[in-house]
């Protein structure tokens, strides 16, 4: 079960230069970032803080939906889903 995580330009250097990464075996958005924390820790900690919360000015979309408008990190993910990580305009 694979989920694609698409990354903004500012984070690609922490993903080996890749625009997106594929994460296997995750059931929720939080799982996806947990697994990224193992494979790409410098990337993952730029998306979530050390307590596991999404950084305040980082937005994550599942399809067209901001996960914060739903179940947040507990949002379920399915095979073929695409997560889009974007910097919030409120952050500057």
């Amino acid at each position: 079960m694979a989920v694609e995580v698409q990354l903004p330009g500012a984070l690609r250097e922490h993903a080996g230069g890749e625009r997106s990464l594929t994460v296997e075996g995750a059931a929720t958005v939080g799982d996806v970032f947990d697994r990224l924390g193992s494979s790409h820790p410098a990337l993952a900690r730029r998306i979530r803080d050390e307590q596991g919360a999404l950084r305040r000015h980082v937005n994550v979309y599942l399809g067209d939906n901001d996960v914060r408008d739903g179940d947040g990190l507990a949002t379920a993910v399915h095979d073929g889903d695409v997560l889009l990580v974007l910097p919030s305009i409120a952050g500057g």
Binding site: R46, E50, A53, R55, H57
Partner: protein, 391 residues
Amino acid sequence: MTDHTTEDSPLSDGRSRLPGMDRTLLAIGTRKGLWLARSDDGRATWQVDGPHFPMQAVYAVAVDTRGDRPRVLVGADSPHWGPSVFRSDDLGASWQETEQGALHFPEDTGATLTRVWQLAPGRPEEPDVVWAGAEPSTVWRSEDRGETFELMRGLWDHPDRPSWQPGFGGMAVHTVLPDPRESDRVLVAMSAGGVYTTHDGGASWTSSNHGLEAYFMADRYPAFGQCVHKVARDADDPSRLYLQNHGGVEGCEQPGVYRSDDGGATWEPHAKGLPETTFGFAVVAHPSRGGTAWLFPLVADGERWPHGGHAAVYRTTDAAESWHECSTGLPDGLYAAVLRDALSADDADPAGLYLGTRSGSVYASRDEGESWSEVVRDLPDVLVVRAATVG
């Protein structure tokens, strides 16, 4: 522009580096990145490159010259992606960071790191020890030259913590001063909690603010809670300290500049020769000569610029018994502040002094503050300057 001279390359204008011409590295941390200035001609001229870490706020820099190779440590934070500590062992040609983050709060604290405010190399006898001060107000210690840090739980769990208040810039430990005599003794300062000291390597901490005024509190001389801006340790007598407080303005009983002769246990005002009001952020001690220190006074918390826009550093050579203006080469018409870490000295003799303004200019002095020349202008808001001889 990326332009830095290497060990074997000539000076930028084609001259060869003469024997005895040390290389000086000046690191300039700003609100939008880090700039590095290098001088190979005795600090007469500078080559500047940057920005490194574009659009990240660089509050903390250390140029650690204790090891075989100098290590530059940088605390940078992005409003989106959070804070990190970067290190370079090649004077800024390349940077590394610890994958998991050099500083990260343990899960049981429930806290998250906002930013690193201070990176302070430890005693020369402990070349792998580096201290960090951070926001929220915490002290951290590294034993691997800044690659990983341990939270000092004694200060994290301090009973005073619930009463600490943020200063205008945040609630942070901005000053960390290891005692050169003993590895277990460290003095820190925070806004706004005041001065704290440890005598057991960070396991326990005691507030140390006797005599310091907190004019913004009902009890003007509380045990803690002062908004101490910066503390510097005398080069000859480690028990002697110079302090710039949030004070010395209308409504205060005391000036904003103090000295302690007992390791911070007690503080007395020492402002003779300073302007009428003695607000400010920075205080710097000479790196090797006792009794010498520098300040950059500002008018007030309500007027954060030098008096009359006349930029001036004040120097003492008699351990703060008196202060004297040094302003040759500094601008008139400066209506910007110099922040607590934007005034610093290098490790040379005579000491070089460096000053960065919130209007993005950096000045350097080769004669211990007597005269100044511009290094660079039009940078973002300068937050920190640090310089050292690196070759």
